[in-house]
């Protein structure tokens, strides 16, 4: 199972460059998730790894092997497509065994493999059915099964769950998380859904506009986003951004804006004092705010609740803060009323600052 390395990968369609030099090192058996908004170049990157798209510049390494001139079939990969790409005229068993049959493996071996994989994915009752006679979720499993039947060293997934309804998607996500513990392979998984990325990944690679924005473990990216894009993309509901000015007050550095003044924790303050500018963007996650009526000066802010969205154990409040909107996540049993102005405490480690021009984290 060779580790995969992308080196300055560039893709141009005619005169339009859609990938601007992707550098990425994936460790062995790592579950790597490429995540980003639609159109950012995730699928293109994956298809270049698969060999379905030509490479305009750069190189792909699998172990010591440069593979950019190899056919897909010589790259030792299996792939699950967004639309499943099942062979409509073959039944489930034939779909799953297609590649093994092409390799002219012994029939007994093929049968055993198909049976095992079907067993694992709960497809045994459907082996004789054609894809058209299956539900969306079952087709999705067949697509997985077809990839699993191959003994490829690397698995590529292109938004495999995006055509499923929300409930099924959650279920399949859990099964995938389970499967990746037992299947020791390199996995590269493309999605636009940050929840899938957070739950499945060993390493998340956030992409935007044909560039890698940041890569690292889910916790790293969630705790220390490198820029405003990553901060806003990961986490739901998304991070709040407020305009603020840095002011010194009694030896402390404060981020001050319309209707709030928050004291920066020492580490952040140390970095912020070195800045040549005073205007910053303050980032606050909805989950880092807490309803504390008597939060002290500099550690909390007053928000006027305008909408409350009940989502079960949690409620999401949309509040006014000066002329900006702030979302807050609270426990549903917290007694609040619409139109009230309440005081929320901010967890000090939940404060993020960004350069308003470059959007890089401070």
């Amino acid at each position: 199972m060779p580790p995969i390395r992308l080196e300055g990968l560039v893709k141009r369609y005619g005169a339009v460059e859609v990938l601007h030099g992707i550098d990425l090192d994936m460790a062995e058996h790592e579950f790597t998730v490429l995540v980003g908004p639609s159109g950012c170049g995730k699928s293109t990157t994956l298809r270049m790894i698969a060999g379905l798209e030509d490479i305009s510049a750069g190189e792909i390494w699998m172990g010591e092997r440069a593979v950019s001139n190899l056919d897909p079939k010589d790259r030792d990969i299996a792939m699950v497509f967004q639309d499943y790409a099942l062979y409509p005229h073959m039944n489930v068993a034939k779909n799953m065994s297609f590649s093994l049959r092409l390799q002219k493996r012994p029939k007994a071996e093929i049968d055993r493999k198909v049976r095992d994989v079907a067993e694992m994915l709960g497809l045994s009752p459907f082996l004789d059915r054609k894809p058209g006679e299956l539900s969306g979720g079952q087709r999705q499993r067949v697509a997985m099964g077809r990839a699993l039947c191959r003994d490829a060293s690397t698995f590529l997934f292109d938004e495999p769950l995006s055509n499923l309804d929300a409930k099924l998607r959650g279920q399949m996500r859990a099964e995938l998380a389970l499967m990746r513990q037992s299947v020791k392979k390199n996995m590269i998984y493309v999605t636009h859904d940050q929840i899938e990325a957070m739950t499945l990944a060993d390493r998340i690679v956030v992409m935007h506009g044909g560039h890698i924005q940041q890569q690292g473990t889910p916790t790293e990216l969630f705790r220390n986003p490198a820029n405003k894009f990553v901060a806003g993309f990961l986490g739901a509901p998304p991070m709040n951004f407020l305009d603020a000015i840095l002011v010194s007050q009694g030896g402390d550095l404060m981020a001050q804006g319309k209707g709030f003044a928050l004291r920066l924790p020492p580490a952040l303050a140390a970095r912020a004092t070195k800045l040549a500018y005073k205007q910053v963007t303050l980032g606050l996650r909805p989950s880092d705010l807490e309803y504390v009526p008597d939060a002290p000066e500099g550690a909390g802010l007053n928000l006027k609740v305008i909408v409350s969205e009940y989502v079960g154990a949690q409620s999401v409040l949309i509040c006014d803060c000066g002329d900006a909107r702030v979302t807050v996540e609270i426990k549903s049993e917290t007694p609040i009323a619409l139109g009230e102005t309440l005081r929320f405490a901010v967890r000090p480690e939940g404060l993020h600052l960004f350069d308003p021009k470059t959007e890089v984290a401070i």
């Binding site: 497509f81 099942l86 005229h89 092409l102």
Partner: protein, 303 residues
Amino acid sequence: MTRFSANRLTPYLFAAPAALVMLLALFYPIGYMIWGSFRAWDPSQSITETEFVGLANYARLLADPAFHESFWVTLVFAFSVVSVEMVLGVSLALLLDRKIRGMSLLRTLFILPMMIAPVVVGLVWRYMFHQSYGTINRMLEAVGLPKVDWLGQNPLLSVIIADVWQWTPFIFILSLAALQSLPRSALEAARIDGATTMQQIWHIKLPLMAPVLIVTLLLRLIDAFKVLEVILVLTGGGPGLQTEILALRIARTAREFRELGEAAAMSNMLLMLLMVLTLGMFAFTRWQEARARRLRFTKEEEG
């Protein structure tokens, strides 16, 4: 209540004029032909003056070696042109289904023969097949091969070549359209699964094109049974009866032998043959629709 029944009648009222035209323009001539096939009928007689002879016309045909010969020639012609055209047309489509500069021009050139009037095709090929100054023999000579007496010694082969030249493009464009509507991702999946170009064609492309190919084949077959102009101009059915296909024999029976009844009987037999083919085609599309419906149904069931 009245409104309700009027609403139910509306579609039939709209269809009525078309049905009437069809009755007059389609079934009347066919009925006339079937009626005529049971009578001894000279072109100078009106049908009311003719004598009813029962199945005599059919009986005579079944015993007539010239009819047998003609029937056989028609079968050989139809099945050979359609098989060659299918193989060539589909192969060309598979070959030209790629994104290369100038491909659209090439595709347009390929369908040119289909746009030429069959009579002209016959004339052009007659010239090309000419024993001494025909293009083909001159080319054979140029590369040092002996001349071939195309229309004299190999008349059936010659008309088959001309028909293949004219109608391969038909199969080509339909196959190309079918190819280009294949699910792209399934082909990509096959590439990743390790299928070579030939294996992709054999295991994925052809099976998925099959519905279109079968309909195309039937359409071509029906058409090939009725071919007339090219052969009329190229060989006139000769030498002897070697290229006298049914359509030509029908025309001759009616005009030269002045046996309208027998010609009608022959037409009826051709019609029945074509009906069997057409019913086959309908049965096939029916079966396909039923299958599609069943698939849709299972999908809807699952929400």
